[in-house]
């Protein structure tokens, strides 16, 4: 019996088609099911990442981390989630109410839309767009609009400075992230994620063209890390400078939305990195070694996918809990004078590589 989820999904589909005659109703039910599934996954991933980060950070800091509520403190996050849901949302005077509450919603919507384009396992994905990579990059940039709105509509000086920093930072680093993704598209020859997955069946992209892909991956990881507004790129929040930056005026679940979106963005960035560089849900294969490949295939594809994501997330946490924060001019210097020329050069390199090999 296969451990893959695609069998289960097919069984549900066939069951529904058998039971209900009207095709549109079947599709509708399936859309709702997929939506609910993604939503549940979204919340679960955020919860998992919160406890994961707290444990990892405690490990770095020679502490224990949460260890009282449930085994290894895993129920702590559920308790925290319930608490933040019941907390009062403190209303502000003299601010733009509509934009103020739209801000966190846009942030969450932006990151949630990305889930529709991801591929979690073999045959498990929301939509398979022919411009999948483009879609992922496009919708994950929506969040910045929410951040800017939040900072602007809070009518707070810290929040405004934070939002302005955030705007400068995210828009800059988006460039490098996209350009490094371009390198992958050139190598894979497609923007469709399924096609990219197929191309990586024998060998992941990082091993197909090690030099340009490694450069692209490092640039992507830095840029993606910067887009999540986490240390050493946490200037928009800059706890010690701007107290909390753009979300300083938010309380209760409005703040919770930013928090959830931050963790999900962490996952999304890791997932995109895993999909395009480390073969997504594809197992580790070496062309020619059939026995080895067969052993690797015994592990289900979603395990591969989430392990790769965890690897990237761990790298991200490692950096976050070790490095001090950059200054805004150093940050922009890093992007415009170092990473952008490198990514442009890398596109040239990968094009030459594709022609030669």
């Amino acid at each position: 019996m296969s451990l893959e989820l695609s069998g289960l999904i097919n069984a549900i589909h066939e069951g529904l088609t058998g039971a209900i005659e009207a095709q549109w109703l079947v599709s509708l039910i399936e859309y709702v099911l997929v939506g609910a599934g993604l939503l549940a996954l979204y919340a679960l991933i955020a919860l998992f990442l919160i406890i994961f980060e707290r444990k990892i950070c405690a490990w770095f800091q020679c502490r224990l981390g949460p260890n009282r509520v449930g085994p290894w403190g895993i129920f702590q996050v559920f308790a925290d989630m319930l608490k933040i849901m019941f907390k009062e949302i403190i209303p502000l005077k003299h601010n733009d109410k509509l934009l103020f509450y739209a801000g966190p919603c846009i942030v969450v919507i932006g990151s949630f839309l990305t889930f529709g384009g991801l591929q979690f396992a073999e045959g498990v994905h929301g939509v398979d767009l022919n411009i999948g990579v483009f879609y992922l990059l496009a919708v994950s940039s929506i969040s910045i609009v929410g951040v800017m709105l939040a900072g602007w509509s809070s009518n707070n000086k810290y929040a405004l400075i934070g939002a302005m920093r955030s705007g400068a930072q995210v828009i800059s680093f988006e460039l490098s992230a996209c350009l490094s993704m371009m390198a992958v598209v050139i190598l894979g020859g497609s923007m469709n994620l399924s096609t990219l997955m197929e191309k990586q069946e024998d060998l992941w992209f990082i091993f197909q063209a090690p030099v340009p892909m490694l450069i692209a991956m490092v640039i992507y990881l830095i840029a993606a890390h910067a887009e999540t507004n986490r240390g050493p790129f946490d200037l928009p929040e800059a706890e010690s400078e701007l107290t909390a930056g753009y979300h300083v005026e938010y309380s209760g679940m409005t703040f919770g939305y930013f928090y959830v979106a931050e963790y999900c963005n962490l996952f999304i960035n890791a997932a995109i990195g895993a999909l395009v560089f480390l073969g997504g849900w594809q197992a580790f294969h070496i062309p020619g070694c059939d026995g080895f490949n067969a052993v690797m295939d015994m592990c289900p594809s979603y395990v591969w996918f989430f392990l790769k994501c965890l690897f990237f997330i761990f790298m991200s946490l490692w950096v976050r809990w070790s490095f001090p924060r950059l200054r805004i001019d150093q940050l922009l210097h890093l992007e415009w004078k170092i990473m952008l020329p490198f990514s442009l050069f890398n596109i040239l390199l990968v094009a030459v590589w594709v022609i030669i090999f």
Partner: protein
């Protein structure tokens, strides 16, 4: 000593230099003060240690302790007073000694002495709408409602008193900030102000244009309270000035009282006090290091600093009972003898901390982001440091040899050899990295000092930890001054006694106030992030500044 007397006599011609006081003292008429101060400054006395306001009952006065940085043990004292109790006025020396700016504001705030020529005569610790001057002996403002209604604009006015060409006194005022300036409040509740400091920062985008520190959120009037307490009763308050160097502050007050009362402290107590001082310094620098890393965004370093500091707290707890404020030194010695385990614990700790320091260097000192931010950023020149009186590690990072342990050795520091850590002796300019690394170097040197002191401790008799002290301590009438090096700089205790069991006036010279006054000149035209980092590198503690 003869030499200083001569210099002082030359600066103040025709004035009698007092005999028998701790430092050569000259009493001046208010009008003569500026001339003598200028002459002293020209003669090399460039460091105004402290400026103390006094209420003599029939007159108000100020006392200036001025030192020479070339020959650091040289301290002279100037005194001046005015008998006008209705509208006391003295001349400002803030254009001669820059650090007088805040000191004179403090004296104005507490005594109501107006300084002619001072360009920013706002209250400093009390609210701007306060009536009365609490340090006057006849102040009764607490009997009625002490505040009055004023507008927000009036709070930002900087009153000035000048003398016009016709010799008449003119009052005017200037606004602190312009109408169109983007002023952001940092504090009083802010993670990076290390206490309840309120900085009003005028910004142009990310660029800092002007910083106006606003003190007094934790002003407890410790100096005023001390006037109604006996000497042993003052001790617990000294711990709470700079709570991170509590043991050192307490030591300073004990030394001052012991010196005045002529109490001989047993060698064992002196050595243990100094070991506690150095451990306190290590703990304070570790926390300072961690806080600086945290203010720059590296939270893990902060936890590491706290973890190591915890070991020192355990050592304190075992011998003294207290942790953050060990409350160990008492007048005449120590409150009890050291724990039998003390020496082993300290030896173990020294080995541990030496190992951990290497780790700290790996984690933060070599980090490219950290060095990229600290190097060539936030310069403080030696002249500026002296003018502002920012001694301690900050001054030494700029090449100013200002370690009081070396200048005026006290207690067991007389007995041992140690190095004063100075950076940039030649360039005479320190940047943020110098101020950062000097703390880690000082930790190392402090560990060496403790090792040497531990050897000396073996020669002393167990149980000989306290001298015989009279039940009621009365100091002979006179002024007493004790300089001590605490973790942040020069901490001085000034006691003026009239022979009673209470001090007539106590003044603590706070190193932190001068450190905060250095914030504006260093950070000007830098970024917000640099301001936070530089503030952390100065490592001020607010209760010390506010007192």
């Amino acid at each position: 000593m003869e030499d200083i007397n001569k210099k002082l006599a030359k600066a103040a011609p025709g004035k009698a230099v007092s005999e028998g006081t701790q430092y050569p003292t000259v009493e001046l008429e208010p009008a003569e003060l500026r001339g003598v101060a200028q002459a002293l400054k020209d003669a090399g006395f460039d460091y105004l240690i402290s400026l103390t306001g006094m209420d003599y009952g029939d007159a108000f006065g100020t006392i200036y302790h001025i030192a020479s940085t070339d020959d650091p043990a040289n301290v002279v004292v100037l005194k001046t007073k005015t008998t006008d109790r209705e509208n006391p006025m003295l001349y400002s020396i803030m254009d001669i000694y820059e650090s007088a700016n805040l000191y004179e504001r403090e004296v104005y705030d507490f005594f109501g002495i107006k300084f002619i020529g001072h360009n920013d005569l706002r209250r400093i610790f009390l609210r701007p709408d306060w009536n009365g001057f609490p340090f006057r002996k006849d102040d009764k403002s607490e009997n009625s409602t002490p505040t009055r209604n004023i507008t927000a604009e009036e709070m930002e006015e900087m009153p000035q008193i000048t003398i016009g060409e016709d010799g008449k006194i003119k009052q005017s005022s200037k606004m602190l900030f312009g109408k169109n300036e983007y002023v952001v409040n940092f504090g009083p509740q802010h993670p990076a102000t290390h206490g309840v400091l309120h900085l009003r920062v005028s910004l142009d985008g990310e660029i800092v244009k002007k910083i106006d520190p606003n003190f007094g959120y934790i002003h407890r009037g410790i100096e005023k309270m001390a006037e109604s307490l006996t000497y042993p009763q003052v001790l617990p308050y000294t711990d709470r000035l700079d709570y991170l160097s509590g043991a050192i502050n307490r030591h300073a007050f004990c030394l001052c009282v012991e010196k005045a009362a002529g109490i001989e402290v047993p060698m064992r107590a002196q050595i243990v006090r100094c070991i506690f001082d150095e451990l306190t310094r290590v703990a304070s620098h570790l926390l300072g290091w961690g806080c600086m890393a945290m203010d720059m965004g590296a939270i893990t370093a902060f936890v590491y600093g706290m973890r190591d500091r915890e070991k020192i707290m355990d050592i304190f707890e075992e011998s003294a009972g207290g942790r953050l404020m060990p409350a160990y030194a008492v007048i005449g010695g120590l409150s009890q003898d050291i724990h039998p385990n003390f020496k082993n614990r300290v030896t173990e700790y020294i080995a541990y901390q030496r190992k951990m320091l290497k780790e700290h260097h790996i984690l933060f000192t070599g980090n490219p982001i950290a060095t990229g931010r600290m190097h060539k950023n936030g310069y403080l020149t030696k002249e500026k440091a002296i003018a502002l009186g920012t001694g301690g590690p900050t001054g030494r990072a700029s090449g100013w040899s200002c370690d009081v342990r070396k200048i005026e050795p006290y207690s067991a520091y007389k007995e041992i050899e140690f190095n004063e850590i100075i950076r940039n002796k030649d360039t005479k300019t320190g940047d943020t990295f110098d101020r950062y690394i000097i703390r880690l170097d000082e930790i190392e040197e402090s560990l060496n000092i403790i090792e040497k002191l531990l050897v000396k401790l073996d020669d002393t008799k167990e149980g000989d930890f306290k001298a015989k002290v009279p039940a009621i301590i009365k100091l002979p009438a006179g002024d007493y001054f004790q300089r001590v090096e605490n973790a942040r700089g020069e901490f001085d205790v000034f006691i003026s006694s009239d022979g009673n069991k209470n001090p007539y006036r106590v003044k603590f010279r706070s190193p932190c106030m001068t450190l905060i006054s250095a914030l504006d000149p260093i950070c000007k035209d830098g970024k917000i992030a640099d301001m936070i980092m530089i503030g952390a590198s100065l490592d001020y503690v607010i209760p010390c500044a506010d007192r």
